[in-house]
Symmetry: C2
Subunit: 110 residues, 2 copies
DNA sequence: GTAACATATGAATATTCGCTCATATGTTCA
DNA sequence: TGAACATATGAGCGAATATTCATATGTTAC
């Protein structure tokens, strides 16, 4: 390809892409899905809201680990918390999560 | 919650969850989306197939970096390659990718 | 053949990230 | 108030990972 044509193509594609900031945010968002502990936590929450210690038992990890990961999920607005007495009940923030999940499953099951 | 009720709930949720293996695979799949360089590469490929050096120019990174990341994308069956003379042209493997992308965007733009 | 270009890959490095331990904070009940 | 329980958080460690440099491999044109 000629040098000018190359540059032109590069500029054309760059122009059509979303802003760099948005793509960095998007990467951070998907990063959250890229850990098996967090995936399993989210998956458990598909069924119903759960307390921290229940989640820990379900995924078979320390309460502390789960608590740390729930914080990550909270920061990306993927889960919400509800305090009830001594316990914190976590649930999913919205239904995008389940759809993204399903689409991922479709891909790997091909 | 009583101890037996807790255990019962844990078992019930665990039973409804997909197999652990599947969830580990799923995490590996999403891990690929969790890096801004790879996200930008995929995003560039939404427009059209591109050679490695074009991609490198578009995302503003070394040819070597892009080549390494394209290998990661290949390993997860997210892109395919076509050799044409000296150049390798990469394109997206299927349309799930774009849908996952869009859903991620919807979430962060809320 | 060799030169020039495009891509792939191995090694080294720096950074990120998940997990665990110890402990702090928050809540209930006696 | 203090004991018991649930959750959150900070520090430290080890593993994973993204990038770069140097170089190998592959391809074309002369």
């Amino acid at each position: 390809m000629a040098h000018e044509a190359h540059q032109e193509l590069v500029q054309e594609v760059k122009a059509k892409m979303p802003q760099a900031d948005t793509l960095f945010e998007l990467a951070d968002f998907f990063k959250v899905f890229g850990d098996s502990t967090r995936i399993r936590i989210m998956c458990a929450l598909f069924e119903r809201e759960l307390s921290v210690c229940c989640i820990a038992d379900i995924v078979g990890m320390e309460q502390s680990t789960v608590s740390h990961q729930l914080r990550v999920l909270r920061q990306e607005n993927l889960v919400k918390v509800r305090r009830d007495g001594k316990q914190s009940y976590y649930s999913l923030e919205d239904e995008h999560i389940q759809k993204i999940f399903e689409m991922g499953l479709e891909h790997i099951l091909e």
